[in-house]
Symmetry: C2
Subunit: 231 residues, 2 copies
């Protein structure tokens, strides 16, 4: 992890997060002035659960995981982060601490912006405020969905869901090469790596997916969807 000044201005930034579209030029300049860019290598931590929430991040490039640190060093991955996302950790307004951790999975660059800047913009720009609010609602509702998943679906359904998420939302293809580890895949479904390994083998043998090392191909989306719904 090393600090570096972005040669670009927020105005020209190709990674500019959607959230900033709602800012007027003065506000964007405020952000631009307070921001600094940091590069991360795989495995490095960006936010750590429990530390003070002093900055928000705009995720520029790479891939990261947002996860909860549970008991016995177990991790539960809530979701992955793609470029263009603006991550206003809950705790932003209440000046409290981070409720989750974020670590880089691939080489990543992020911009840090002081929460005070975001707060002051929130107060004067209600469109931006609404957008923030809507975002947290989306994350909240997906967490509620995850509660049901963890509580009422079996391993197969949960893993199927994780595979579909990777295929549809993250890698955007039926066939993809995992950049996350198998352990991280298991952590997304909230199951042990051993169980995950066994289920992948099952699905492969039954012809619903192809898997070879880190290469995965979803051969039967519909079956996996059904699996993830029924449980």
């Amino acid at each position: 992890m090393f600090k570096e000044t972005n040669p670009l201005d927020c105005n020209d930034c190709v990674f500019q997060s959607k959230a900033f579209k709602f800012l007027n030029p003065e506000e964007l300049e405020l952000v631009n002035k307070s921001r600094f860019e940091v590069k991360y290598k795989p495995g490095e931590g960006i936010f750590k659960q429990g530390t003070a929430c002093t900055h928000v991040v705009s995720f520029n490039s790479g891939l990261a995981k947002i996860y909860l640190e549970g008991y016995n060093n177990k991790q539960l991955i809530i979701r992955l982060v793609k470029p263009g996302e603006f991550i206003a950790s809950p705790g932003l307004l209440s000046n409290s601490s981070h409720y989750y951790s974020i670590s880089a999975i691939e080489n990543s660059t992020v911009c840090f912006i002081e929460t005070s800047v975001i707060k002051s913009i929130f107060k004067q720009n209600h469109i931006f405020g609404e957008m923030l609010m809507r975002e947290i609602h989306v994350y909240y509702s997906s967490t509620l969905q995850k509660l049901i998943n963890l509580n009422q679906k079996n391993m197969h359904g949960r893993l199927a869901e994780a595979l579909l998420y990777l295929s549809n939302t993250i890698y955007g293809a039926d066939a993809f090469t995992l950049t996350i580890t198998k352990k991280e895949l298991a952590d997304m479904a909230g199951i042990s790596t051993e169980s995950s390994s066994r289920i992948l083998k099952d699905l492969h043998e039954q012809g619903y997916i192809n898997i070879n090392k880190k290469k995965i191909e979803i051969k039967d989306q519909k079956y996996l969807s059904r699996l993830s719904e029924i449980g």
Copy 2:
């Protein structure tokens, strides 16, 4: 469920939710004009998961449960609602649908307020907006905590947590009489009623709680806390 005009004005309402403390007189009058009060009997539904989110509610009296409707008619209770709470369902700003259901547990009265009114106030009163934002953050973070609980704690820990929640947050005493059913207690911990029953018996026999029908007494808060933390 029958509609009734509240004889009182919001200004004088003894149940006034904390959220309204941040409104100026004109805004409060807006709320007052658009509001209508409804009474519910135990078991009656206030919000239904999946229906359009057209109103927010201010919970005046009684007790209600916020729960997710999962598969096979299973319910997972997220939390209970006490008088004075202002419930802005996620979906408020995005005009989408309710992500959870709310039902009365005890005889309850609530005021419904149109979302459009709340939205317009949100736009002009950033203090109110901040408060809403802070609230959703709190609920979001408690849901994250629940994710870890469901995924990584055993039944004993989860039930201990539910008991402590009832004792500390809902009934406000070490000894209390359940107004929720045993099934609802189990739904709070995300376990089956049979398991819940067995664990309560265990805890009783080991002297950590007293339980007689619907009467429960927490005799060893510390032990239950430890149980809920470790697993």
